[in-house]
């Protein structure tokens, strides 16, 4: 029997009836119930879903709007679903625009889905504005919140780890005060920073200016043609961080996200335990048994607690809207007294008036940061946990007791550089606290349609206060007789920015133009104070009453201050043109001057860029290739620059230096500070980029391929010059040139897409090849074309790397051991390739050779997201290949001749499988400690569950998740973590004092009210 189709009037009737039977329900509740009561009786609705060309679409999700009732199309694109006659069906499919169709009493509903151009219509934040993704002509990658790394992320950098091809982000330290390191498309400089320009809503900042939970998206301008609009600051790429913003008409919404985490050391150094140590002693090693059993690394460790809370409130209407965000981060590290606490508050208000002709924005951001310091920060320093304390824990005798009989920490000061690590932690007190406050505002005036003037001002002030003290039980008094030590220091940085831009857009038929012109002024002032004192009458005041120390009166206290400032003035313009969205063109230029060049002949530099794109799929010959959603070829070229990090290098300067005994009085002398270089100019990076953006099969397969060549000319460095006649043996100059080239592939796949189960997989791969082309020019001639870099530290005291023309940066350079004798003495390979025994080997610099390279040649990442119904699982993995690591821990702690310190268990592994190292072999830097660094890291695993909406009254969304970070690493590297420092001229050094990396476990909760 067929029931009549429910008619709206019937529903109303039913509602009325319901209203009579139930105690005063609202009409809408009544109608829902009524609909449900009729649902069972309704006929199933059937239909077929096709694409725009009429081909059937399998796997399309069909859902009754506002319910959990859903179905899916079969191979023929057919579906069946039970739904009330007045309901609305939602058809959704990856790569297509979701479509809503009101049933309106029908039983058969056929739908043609249109390809989703949303992906292409997405805007990407580019320099001084946004661009439609479709219009991009350069290598720009945007990562949205949902793709971020989840869990206890330390800063914005970690959110992107492994996500973007060509952008390698490492967290080489487990210190909760440490930041991630970003290296974009290789090392392009010798001396300058490799840190990309980080803009937070257009204002320069750092990776931790805003907490990760307050970030909505991050866009990375990779190639020179994109970054050139930022001229001198864009050489290392630009990372544009967009915070959560109020937009449009929003009902007041409160979002809470929070998590608790704990950490474990990712891998512990395998030093001899007390038992093993005693066994070696029994075997004749000249160790000393002190009668106890202590695991020193454990003794300084703790089970850390981390908890983070983020609360944001958004609301407003089309005219005025606002956002308030509060974030508290409490981090403890794996070592005692290693921690970091930050509260960040941010408010942002938008107002639009005069029919949208004027738009105002005002923002305030303030963060309070505090952490324990076990290191004296000095004049410029920061420093959380003292790496030297960790060193003391590693090398301390495992049979030594923690406490001595008198209840103090047991010490043994007659051994050089040997201190009880716990005494270093607990007989010192230190705290660094800082406040970072940013005020910003902007005004947009649109006098006529398509023409906009914008003014943006911001002021960022950073103030840090440091205090550090060592009491009278600290080695500094027990051994060095300081009788109590204290220091204080401050850092103050003030940064101002003014940016004025005018932009104009116009579309004439198939031609679309945009133009931008602007002016930018940035001023930065830094001030530092520091003082220290010792010989205190009491420990009571730690560093808070520093004047009572007697060293001040004896003339032995230290005091220092410094101040510097610089500014940057830039003018810029950009034109874009597109024809039929098929042919795209962009040209920009920035002209910029820096006060760093004051006194030099040319402080101004010009940084042009041009790029073009061709949407091949819009051509007629591809009209029928329906599997192609997008295919775009891009070509770009751009120039960016770098200024030296010091001012006044172009002019002769005098500075006060060492004292001179003048008539019985010590007088500070006034002498030249450096060789002036009036020809100092911008270091310039010229970058060419060819790229292909592709998207096939309704977005099931998409991605980009880029190839770049970056050449840095006029490399700034302190070049060797002849002295005499020069005052000093080096001059900061623009001499060498360096090349980086590489390929980047990004592939996004949706291998499975069903109603209940979706699998997204993204894969990225990149290569980087780096070569120093020259170290000479007409003014600076080097006959040997190399210089050395890196340092082993004492007691080995030699350089570790060589920077040589024709070679890549990062080459390890030292003695090569090829074998050992049967009694464990090194056998080297000399400069002639001959094997030479230890005692015959002169250890001459000429016998050193390249032992490897610390910069990876290949990087890869593979990220997967699975969603099954309400359950989701994310796994991010990344790896680096083709590089070596100099393992300092092995170099220092595998030596068998050093008996006053503990050693690694691996010291007893036969060298080259032949013999344990002879005790007569001194500590030495050689190829045996240079290891293959290749690794594959399963980093972030997140398992989450989204509860049904409105499960709890007033709460719209609930999500819980569990995550791990740095989960495990597959590597042959013997050290703690192959992901080591890659910055600077000595990359690949795994420093022995490095705070070990950690594995993090997190439980998190997100709520929306």
């Amino acid at each position: 029997m067929k029931l009549p189709l429910p008619h709206p009037n019937h529903v109303l009737l039913a509602a009325a009836l319901g209203g009579l039977t139930l105690a005063a329900p609202t009409p809408s509740q009544a109608s829902v119930r009524a609909a449900k009561s009729l649902q069972q009786a309704a006929d199933p609705i059937k239909g077929r879903v096709v694409d725009e060309k009429g081909a059937p679409l399998p796997g399309v999700n069909v859902i009754v709007k506002g319910s959990n009732n859903g179905s899916q199309t079969d191979a023929e694109g057919r579906y069946t679903i039970q739904a009330p006659a007045d309901a609305t069906l939602v058809f959704s499919f990856v790569g297509s625009t979701p479509q809503e169709v009101a049933i309106g009493g029908r039983t058969t509903i056929d739908v043609a889905l249109k390809p989703d151009t949303k992906e292409l219509a997405d805007v990407v934040v580019v320099g001084y504005g946004t661009q439609r993704k479709a219009d991009l002509t350069s290598a720009v990658v945007g990562v949205k919140e949902e793709s971020f790394v989840k869990g206890a992320t330390r800063d914005a950098g970690q959110l992107l780890q492994g996500k973007v091809a060509g952008v390698t982000i490492v967290s080489p330290s487990g210190d909760p005060t440490a930041n991630t390191q970003i290296l974009l498309r290789g090392s392009t400089t010798l001396n300058s920073s490799t840190q990309p320009l980080i803009l937070i809503d257009g204002i320069p900042g750092t990776l931790n200016t805003v907490p990760p939970e307050d970030i909505e998206s991050i866009d990375v301008l990779k190639d020179g043609s994109a970054a050139a609009i930022y001229g001198t600051r864009g050489t290392n790429g630009v990372i544009l961080i967009t915070t959560r913003r109020p937009q449009g008409n929003i009902t007041p919404t409160i979002e809470y996200s929070g998590y608790v985490s704990t950490q474990r050391i990712a891998r512990s150094p395998q030093m001899l335990t007390a038992d093993e140590y005693r066994q070696k002693l029994a075997e004749g090693v000249a160790f000393t048994d002190q009668g106890s059993s202590t695991d020193w690394v454990k003794a300084i460790s703790q089970s850390p607690l981390i908890h983070v809370h983020n609360l944001s409130l958004r609301g407003g209407n089309g005219k005025t809207n606002y956002l308030v965000n509060g974030n508290y981060r409490y981090f403890e590290g794996i070592f005692q007294k290693s921690n970091n606490r930050t509260f960040t508050g941010r408010a942002d208000v938008n107002h639009s008036m005069f029919e949208g002709r004027i738009k105002l924005n005002a923002g305030i951001l303030s963060s309070d940061n505090k952490y324990d310091a076990t290191v004296d920060g000095g004049l410029y320093g920061n420093g959380g946990f003292n790496g030297y304390t960790y060193r003391q824990a590693i090398l301390r005798n495992p049979t030594a007791p923690i406490d001595s009989a008198n209840g103090r920490y047991a010490q043994q000061f007659t051994l050089f550089n040997y201190e009880n690590p716990l005494s270093r932690i607990y007989e010192s007190a230190g705290e660094n606290s800082s406040q970072n406050t940013r005020l910003n505002g902007s005004l947009v005036w649109e006098p006529i349609d398509n023409l906009q003037f914008k003014g943006l001002v911001s002021n960022t002030r950073y103030d840090q206060t440091r205090g550090y003290s060592e009491n009278k039980e600290h080695p500094s008094t027990l051994r060095d007789l300081l009788n109590g030590y204290a220091s204080r220091g401050t850092t103050h940085v003030d940064e101002r920015l003014v940016e004025l831009t005018a932009s104009y857009n116009r579309t004439i038929g198939e031609h679309r133009f945009s133009a931008l012109a602007g002016y930018s002024y940035q001023q930065n002032t830094s001030e530092y104070y520091y003082l220290s004192n010792y010989d205190f009458p009491t420990d009571l005041f730690t560093y808070n009453n520093i004047a009572i120390g007697n060293a001040l009166r004896a003339g032995r206290a230290t005091m220092a201050s410094d101040k510097s400032s610089f500014n940057l003035v830039g003018f810029f313009g950009r034109l874009t043109y597109s024809y039929k969205e098929k042919y795209l063109l962009l040209a920009s230029v920035r002209r910029e001057a820096s006060s760093r060049f004051l006194g030099a002949e040319q402080p101004w530099g010009t940084f042009p860029a041009v790029s073009a794109g061709w949407r091949i799929n819009k051509e007629n010959f591809l009209q029928n290739a329906s599997f192609i959603d997008d295919l775009k070829l891009r070509v770009g070229y751009g120039v960016t620059g770098t200024a030296p990090s010091q001012s006044f290098l172009g002019v002769a300067r005098l500075g006060f230096g060492g004292n001179f005994l003048s008539n019985g009085r010590w007088t500070p002398t006034l002498g030249p500070s450096s060789n002036p270089n009036p020809f100092l100019r911008w270091e310039e990076k010229h970058e060419a980029n060819v790229g292909l953006d592709y998207s096939f099969l309704k977005g099931r397969i998409s991605g980009t391929v880029d190839y770049y060549v970056r050449r840095t000319n006029g490399l700034l460095y302190d070049y060797q010059v002849p002295s005499p006649p020069n005052l000093f043996t080096s001059t900061t100059a623009n001499v060498g040139s360096l090349e980086n080239k590489g390929l980047e592939v990004q592939l996004n796949l949706v291998p499975v897409q069903t109603k209940d189960f979706v699998w997204n997989s993204t894969f990225n791969f990149s290569t980087n090849q780096n070569r120093l082309l020259s170290l000479s020019n007409e003014l600076y001639q080097l006959t040997n074309e190399f210089f050395n870099a890196g340092y082993t530290g004492e007691p080995i005291q030699t350089y570790t790397h060589r920077v040589q023309v024709g070679q890549p940066l990062g080459n390890f350079y030292g003695f090569k051991v090829v074998d050992v004798t049967n009694d464990g003495q090194w056998i080297y390979e000399n400069r002639n390739g001959e094997q030479v025994a230890y005692n015959q080997f002169g250890h001459d610099d000429g016998d050193k050779q390249v032992l490897g390279n610390g910069l990876p040649k290949y990087y890869a990442g593979w990220n997967n997201n699975f969603r099954y119904k309400r359950l989701d699982l994310g796994v991010t993995m990344r790896g680096a290949f083709g590089f070596q690591i100099l393992n300092f821990q092995r170099m220092y702690y595998e030596n068998t001749g050093v008996t006053q310190y503990n050693r690694l268990r691996s010291a007893y592994e036969p060298v080259f499988g032949k013999a344990v190292l002879n005790t007569a072999m001194p500590l030495e830097y050689n190829s045996y400690y240079v290891e293959n660094g290749a690794y594959w890291k399963v980093d972030n695993i997140t398992l989450g569950y989204n509860f049904q909406s409105n499960l709890v009254k007033y709460i719209k969304n609930i999500r819980v998740y569990a995550a791990t970070l740095n989960t495990f690493t597959i590597t042959g590297y013997k050290g703690l973590d192959p992901e080591v420092n890659r910055i600077g001229l000595d990359p690949g050094i795994d420093n022995r004092d490095k705070f070990p990396t950690v594995r993090t476990y997190t439980l998190g909760l997100n709520l929306t009210f």
């Binding site: 051994l415 550089n417 007789l481 101040k563 002398t669 006649p725 006959t783 080995i796 005291q797 007569a920």
Partner: protein, 543 residues
């Protein structure tokens, strides 16, 4: 017209904006911590600070970790930096110094070159400032200041002449852009130094006071430098000049400004400034002018308790070569005062124990032993104790480092007399210097011309595990006894290399782990860094 108005407003704004741009392109030109030279006119009060800047290099040049002291001491038969249980191998650089296998890439010669020329270029700059009147000095002082700076510059060239020989002479600051100095021969460098000093002498002060202490405005300091040049004329120029050496020494002796201290130790005391024996010293101070750290390099960490020092000593780098110690007469007081030896004690007199290996817990006793340059124990070798280490020393010593002292003047004259056939007069001077060291047994102080004509008592020959084999001895060294006298009197003062070269021993004899490695080793190689930047320079022969 409706659309016109906004455009007008825009253009007005643009005009205003352009005006704004003009004032916003100014570059920040404030220097907060250094003086931009072109914006600075020095006054009379700045003269000591500016002139003094040219002296500052002497401190690191001589005593910095890789300073000239290390070359002049540890390449010789007197001291060595052996490997120790806690390190001191440092890429083999100390061992290469001992075995005369250093290269142009070694850090020590490079450091000396940089510091010496750093001092020279500063002298040139200040001279240029004075001569071009950009630094105005009172007329009465001008000539003396110029003369002082010329001698100071000559003193840096003396180090270069002694170490490298064939170096470029640059005596002016206002050189054209891209100027690359030409290399001079060692003889030319010698002549230049002698000429500079001689021309300057008349303008220098004859008064010895705090105003001339540690400076070359002191005529006698300049004379001592001149005497040093003449003493080494045969080596530097290939032609001896003993007569001039004697007259330079006589000028100092006859000025009656200097005498021998009653004890040698007082020349090296913490408060040795103003000692009547010091002709020229490099002033140091634990607070104002740091860098005197020989004790940090020579002592064991435990010795921190001996002196209640604020710094932990670095673990025993430099020590005496046992063969050298064996050459002393056991009654010579200098054997005890110049070398730290035997059981080490805390300041309170409690014996200290060893820390390393089988030595741990056993008495820390510095013995006159050393198996080889490769590895010494913490007990091996007597340590440098010539310079007083005061109780409660910070990290740096306040002792001034005497570069020229009166005993040296007497011995230079004695050598000149000895080599010109006036042995008896030479012996008188040598005896005069010896006397204070044999107070308990004065007869032993006396030496005769016949004694001085004898060879050396140094038991030369390669030594392994404290056995010298084969024994070469020093009997064949002409005036070897006089060389021994120089060794005993000036031990650990950085004289030895020069003296050994002058007596022909430096590259011909063996000691400890050293065997002769070529006569060319009397000159250091010109550092590779320097050759890289100045194509006019040629490496010294042999390297």
């Amino acid at each position: 017209m409706k659309n016109f108005l906004p455009f007008a407003r825009v253009s007005m704004l643009a005009t205003a904006g352009l005006g704004l741009f003009g004032s916003c392109t100014k570059l920040d030109d404030q220097s907060y911590n250094q003086i931009v030279t072109s914006q600075f006119t020095p006054g009379a009060a700045d003269v000591p600070a500016i002139v003094g800047s040219a002296y500052v290099n002497w401190r690191p040049l001589y005593l910095e970790f890789q300073g000239v002291y290390r070359i002049n001491e540890t390449t010789t038969d007197e001291t060595v930096t052996p490997g120790r249980p806690n390190g001191w191998v440092d890429d083999g650089s100390y061992r290469r110094l001992h075995q005369h296998t250093w290269t142009a890439l070694d850090p020590t010669p490079n450091f000396a070159w940089e510091q010496a020329y750093g001092g020279i270029t500063k002298c040139n700059q200040v001279l240029f400032q004075i001569q071009s009147n950009s630094l105005v000095i009172a007329a009465a002082d001008k000539d003396q200041t110029i003369a002082e700076l010329r001698v100071l510059r000559a003193s840096y060239y003396y180090i270069l002449c002694d170490l490298f020989g064939n170096v470029p002479i640059v005596d002016r600051f206002d050189v054209p852009a891209g100027f690359l100095p030409q290399q001079s021969t060692r003889a030319q460098v010698y002549d230049f130094i002698v000429k500079e000093i001689r021309e300057s002498l008349p303008q220098l002060s004859t008064t010895v006071s705090t105003a001339t202490y540690g400076r070359f405005n002191n005529r006698w300091a300049a004379q001592a430098l001149l005497a040093k040049m003449y003493q080494n004329a045969q080596v530097y120029k290939g032609q001896a000049d003993w007569a001039n050496c004697i007259s330079a020494c006589d000028a100092i002796i006859n000025s009656n400004n200097y005498t021998l201290e009653p004890t040698q130790a007082s020349v090296f005391a913490t408060q040795n400034q103003g000692s009547k024996e010091i002709v020229f010293a490099i002033p140091f101070d634990e607070v104002y002018a740091t860098g005197f750290r020989i004790h940090m390099q020579t002592l064991q960490p435990q010795n921190q308790l001996t002196y209640n020092s604020q710094g932990t000593m670095w673990g025993g780098g430099i020590c005496a070569i046992p063969q050298f110690i064996n050459s002393y007469n056991p009654s010579d007081n200098r054997l005890k005062t110049n070398w730290i030896q035997g059981q080490q004690l805390t300041a309170a007199g409690v014996p200290l124990n060893g820390s390393f290996g089988s030595n741990a817990g056993k008495p820390l006793v510095f013995t006159n032993t050393l198996p080889s340059v490769v590895l010494g124990s913490e007990n091996d070798g007597f340590r440098v104790g010539k310079f007083e280490i005061k109780q409660g020393v910070l990290v740096d010593l306040s002792n001034d480092f005497p570069l020229f002292r009166y005993a040296d003047v007497l011995m230079m004259k004695a050598e000149a007399l000895l080599r010109t056939g006036q042995g008896a007069q030479a012996a008188t001077l040598v005896t005069q210097v010896r006397q204070r060291n044999f107070l308990a047994n004065p007869a032993l102080a006396t030496v005769t011309a016949a004694d001085l004509a004898q060879g050396s008592s140094y038991p030369y020959g390669p030594a392994n595990n404290n056995v010298v084999s084969p024994v070469q001895g020093g009997a064949d060294i002409q005036y070897g006894r006089f060389l021994d006298e120089l060794g005993w009197e000036f031990a650990a003062e950085g004289h030895r290399r020069q003296d050994m070269i002058r007596f022909g021993v430096y590259t011909t004899k063996s000691w400890l782990s050293h065997t002769p490695n070529g006569a060319y080793r009397t000159l250091m190689p010109i550092p590779q860094n320097v050759l890289n930047t100045n194509s006019n320079l040629k490496q010294n022969p042999g390297y």
